[in-house]
């Protein structure tokens, strides 16, 4: 791993000019402690050597099962967590590049306006003791942006934009349903005119009929406000619906990344294949006709992962090499990367289009 401490901020470069964000070798390890004296027992490798990029204006999906580290990656990007190691390169509006992993304190706060976060649970993310206006505008107030009257105007127009009545800003969150609260959360994220929004399971807690309303709203807002999304979800159907490109994570590692349609139709990593095969198909006619792949065993423990490829104990294509040698994420062409020794050889089954 390259030590980035010595590179002056101004000299940082991204691989491509179209990138808004580039994450390089991101690691986040949580210490495991025990006993009264908090002795260190080991580390949970929530994110381990994760590298990816997001182009300006696109939606990147981050998909994986619970405990795969996708939320940790999202929280590192918004700097809710300080990464253990690695770089998070962000292109400012003026074109210069800054490493978000290195900055601290007051400096982080200057990027809080640019990179926003939408939580999974709209019930938990809104302080029930504050009015909708206070919730949405607090970020402006603490950063001394605008007068109160201007903030009221801004909140008003944004509430309208997310499909809520402006008078609602005098209400408290308890008066709203899950879908409405998520609209408030979206307004809160967008009030600063951000450039990147990290949506962490933003629609997972919502009812089926409301979920699509919010997804459509997010897509409309992306076009209107020229937003870039990092969309984190465990739901492959939602990811399919909203994302341009998709990253698949397994036990803290990125195992595959590709353009969405390509990933869904021609997966190159056996885990991605199994994941997609497990999603129920919305057609009873197809239910017995398809060959379903079933994964045996449990997800590996990120504090004590298996040797070699983390997926090998559950992989049906595993070879002896897989248990000893860790596969690197390598280029398969066309922006398709997979971390499997046999990515080129295997002929994996994708989603059958209905």
């Amino acid at each position: 791993m390259t030590s980035s401490e010595h590179i002056p901020q101004a000299a940082r470069q991204m691989t491509d000019d179209s990138y808004l964000l580039e994450v390089k070798n991101l690691r986040k390890h949580f210490p495991i402690t025990a006993g009264i004296l908090a002795r260190l027992k080991g580390y949970t490798r929530a994110a381990d050597d994760v590298s990816f990029y997001i182009r300006q204006g696109e939606t990147l999906g981050l998909v994986g099962e619970s405990g795969c580290g996708k939320t940790t990656v999202g929280r590192c990007v918004v700097r809710a967590y300080k990464p253990t190691a690695g770089e998070i390169l962000y292109r400012r509006a003026d074109g210069s590049v800054v490493d978000l992993a290195q900055i601290r304190g007051r400096e982080v706060r200057t990027y809080r306006k640019d990179i926003r976060f939408i939580f999974q649970d709209p019930y938990a993310a809104l302080n029930p003791r504050m009015t909708v206006f206070d919730l949405i505008s607090e970020v402006l107030a603490v950063n001394h942006i605008g007068t109160r009257a201007e903030r009221v105007d801004q909140v008003e127009s944004l509430l309208k934009r997310v499909g809520m009545r402006p008078e609602y800003m005098r209400r408290y969150p308890h008066a709203f349903s899950g879908g409405e609260r998520q609209r408030i959360s979206i307004a809160r994220a967008l009030i600063t005119n951000p450039r990147l929004v990290v949506c962490d399971e933003a629609v997972s807690a919502l009812d089926v009929s409301v979920r699509v309303q919010i997804l459509n709203l997010l897509e409309e807002l992306q076009a209107d406000f020229d937003l870039t999304y990092l969309f984190i979800s465990h739901d492959l159907s939602v990811i399919r619906h909203i994302c341009d490109r998709v990253n698949v994570m397994y036990v803290g590692k990125l195992v595959e990344t590709a353009e969405a349609t390509e990933l869904y139709t021609q997966p190159k990593h056996p885990y991605a294949e199994a994941l997609m095969s497990a999603v129920p198909v919305h057609d009873p006619v197809l239910r017995d006709s398809q060959h379903r792949i079933r994964l045996e065993g449990e997800i590996a423990d990120p504090s004590n992962p298996p040797s070699g490829c983390y997926f090998h104990p559950r992989c049906r294509y595993a070879q002896p090499r897989c248990s000893t040698e860790e596969p690197a994420l390598h280029d398969l062409g066309n922006g398709h990367f997979a971390a499997c020794h046999f990515a080129e050889e295997l002929n994996l089954q994708g989603v059958r289009m209905g």
Partner: protein, 432 residues
């Protein structure tokens, strides 16, 4: 509002491109009030449903009102030898010596078909054989009335002493003396009582007399001043300690947290009563009673802050992980503002409930110390001091009315516990 709302909904949907028509629930006035209700409003609505707590709240308000205006509600003064200026002898105790250990006088409300309350005067007789003293009612009616003149009393802190002369150079004394002086100016004196004998010199013992002929009922009321305030002052002090140390523990963490938590565990392992006794005995015996009172309260709170500190710490720890706190952090809200604006308001109500539940412990502590004779001492009257007279079983059998302070303690504690329960249930109005 229906059509108007629909129209506006249409406007918005055209403007924003989001379909809203069905989204606008037509809200009634009640729903509108609910939507705009801040935390305290919601808590009150939830608390209101807790009948027992509501009754307890009323009981507690009555108790404290009586305590504040004790002189008005008590028919007599607490102690004829105490409190008053030397030139003034309270008329209410003209018959004091004749009524030593007298039992309660039953009150008759109706005389000859009209409302005219009275009691019969007692006469002391001695059984010729057993030589036991007994009181028998005579034919003399003592007329009672409302708003009658009687012993002079003061409302407010007129008797708060200035610092003892030997401490006059003390910095704290210099600071608080002017405050005490101001407090004293708020006090006023009067001699009208809610209920009592029309002739202020007549004897009146609705709850019997003690071993020096003082009215137990009046003393019970005066005693509530001390007993009820010990709880409040003590809890206030332990709240300060608890919030400060608990907050430090929860926010700083690390070895600070470890140190405070271990201290709490050690403190909790010490049995209360022996430690109180040791501390109480350590207090200089000739201190002014008021300072003894504060001394006892501080002793009580020094041992009782641990519960509150744990609650505060626990709340800080769990809130730190809460999404809305992370959300505030991601809004760039400074740390101090996150604590004061997001964290503290969300557990303040829990703290208040916890405080209410720890007041009974304070009251019981004071009573226990005074009962054992190591807390407050006469001439201060508290329920514990009064109960100290009932320490002997023989006394209890012969003069059961001396146990009345026990009943007062019981009612107060129960009321605080019920109130605390109700507050705890209402403390988090956002979860059902």
């Amino acid at each position: 509002m229906t059509t108007e709302a629909k129209n506006e909904a249409q406007d918005i949907s055209e403007e924003g491109g989001v379909d809203l028509a069905a989204e606008i629930p037509v809200m009634g006035e009640a729903a509108e009030r609910f939507a705009m209700a801040p935390q305290w409003q919601l808590m009150w609505w939830k608390f209101r449903r807790h009948r027992l707590a509501l009754v307890s709240l009323v009981v507690i308000i009555i108790l404290y009102t009586v305590a504040i205006f004790a002189g008005f509600f008590a028919p007599k003064s607490a102690d004829p030898t105490e409190l008053q200026t030397p030139s003034y002898t309270p008329p209410g105790y003209a018959h004091q010596t004749e009524y030593i250990n007298a039992p309660p006088m039953p009150i008759h409300w109706i005389d000859n078909g009209t409302f005219a309350p009275y009691v019969y005067a007692f006469k002391k007789t001695r059984d010729p054989k057993t030589l036991v003293e007994t009181f028998v009612a005579t034919d003399t009616k003592i007329r009672l009335g409302f708003f009658v003149p009687g012993d002079r009393y003061t409302v407010g802190f007129s008797s708060v002493p200035v610092c003892p002369p030997e401490w006059s150079e003390n910095a704290i004394c210099k600071l608080i003396d002017p405050v005490l002086g101001f407090v004293k100016t708020l006090a006023f004196t009067a001699d009208i009582h809610l209920f009592g004998p029309i002739n202020p010199e007549d004897p009146f013992y609705p709850a019997g007399a003690d071993d020096v002929g003082r009215d137990v009922f009046s003393r019970l009321i005066y005693a509530s001043q001390v007993s009820l305030s010990v709880g409040l002052v003590g809890v206030f002090l332990s709240l300060l300690l608890g919030i400060f140390l608990g907050g430090l523990s929860g926010l700083v963490g690390g070895w600070v947290d470890n140190l405070i938590q271990r201290t709490i565990e050690v403190l909790r392992a010490i049995p209360d009563i022996p430690l109180w006794m040791a501390l109480a005995i350590a207090m200089p015996p000739r201190l002014d009673p008021v300072y003894v009172y504060f001394g006892v309260t501080i002793i009580l709170s020094l041992l009782r802050w641990t519960d509150l500190a744990r609650v505060v710490r626990g709340k800080f720890l769990s809130l730190r992980e809460d999404d809305f706190v992370t959300a505030a952090e991601l809004d760039g809200v400074p740390r101090g503002r996150i604590i004061m604006r997001h964290m503290v308001p969300s557990f303040m109500s829990h703290i208040i409930a916890q405080m209410t539940l720890s007041i009974p412990g304070m009251i019981l502590g004071e009573s226990a110390l005074s009962f054992l004779g190591v807390g407050l001492r006469p001439p201060v009257v508290s329920w514990g001091v009064m109960l100290n007279k009932a320490i002997d079983v023989v006394v209890v059998i012969n003069k059961p009315w001396l146990l009345l302070p026990g009943l007062a303690i019981f009612v107060t504690i129960l009321a605080f516990n019920f109130l605390g329960d109700g507050l705890r249930d209402a403390a988090d109005p956002y979860h059902v």
